[in-house]
């Protein structure tokens, strides 16, 4: 298993764990829930940094196939991220179109889940592309 696969596997596992942790927080709607979600977001970013540091997945350590797969997975990640943001935003609109007001907690949830989805799509795509081979984009 190459460095980038280790990084992706740990990132995917970590992202799923952070989603599970967030789902375990009761929906109280009380003060503190927003701050707790933001704290989890900071912890998630810190986890990404730790994974990258300890797996040694620096760009200089990757060869051309690794970088090709990383770039192609980033395209997948961006599309997945965009889809999650769009679907989440439409759901918020449908849920609150009557009042025209979206609760702050749900805005933070949109930020939290969409950011984690970016890493789920990205790391998942990396692991799949190592199995299937990078896409050939030439003629």
């Amino acid at each position: 298993m190459v460095i980038q696969q280790k990084e992706s596997g740990l990132t995917l596992a970590g992202s799923l764990a952070f989603i599970a942790i967030r789902l375990l927080i009761p929906r109280s709607g009380k003060t503190g829930e927003v701050e707790l979600t933001l704290l989890l977001l900071v912890c998630f970013i810190f986890m990404l940094w730790i994974v990258r540091h300890f797996t040694g997945a620096r760009l200089k350590a990757l060869d051309e196939m690794d970088l090709t797969i990383r770039s192609q997975a980033a395209i997948v990640g961006a599309h997945g991220f965009g889809a999650v943001v769009m679907i989440f935003a439409v759901l918020l609109y449908l849920m609150h179109r009557g009042s025209g007001l979206v609760p702050l907690q749900q805005v933070i949830n949109l930020a939290y889940y969409s950011w984690l989805s970016l890493y789920i799509f990205w790391s998942g795509a990396i692991l799949i592309l190592y199995k299937t081979g990078a896409w050939h984009v030439g003629s």
């Binding site: 190459v2 060869d63 051309e64 196939m65 690794d66 090709t68 299937t132 081979g133 030439g138």
Partner: protein, 72 residues
């Protein structure tokens, strides 16, 4: 091995054995990639850049076309 996306074949595996059974790891070190990339190349799962193709051909003292061919 045939790359099913491009129809390009390569003889890297044969070339390695012609070069005194050079290992994938040795070839990887000579051309500056990981062994995983050599495995993917031999399996037809990855099409190399022109630079990497030239480097690989040079290791075997061959032209690029002798190592990489367009399949029919």
């Amino acid at each position: 091995m045939l790359d099913h996306n491009t129809g390009i074949t390569n003889t890297i595996r044969k070339c390695r054995f012609d070069q005194g059974e050079m290992t994938q790891e040795q070839l990887a070190q000579k051309v500056g990639v990981t062994r995983q990339t050599i495995i993917a190349l031999e399996a037809g799962k990855y099409l190399p850049s022109l630079l990497l193709a030239i480097r690989i051909a040079r290791v075997f003292d061959k032209n690029v076309e002798e190592v990489f061919q367009i399949g029919t």
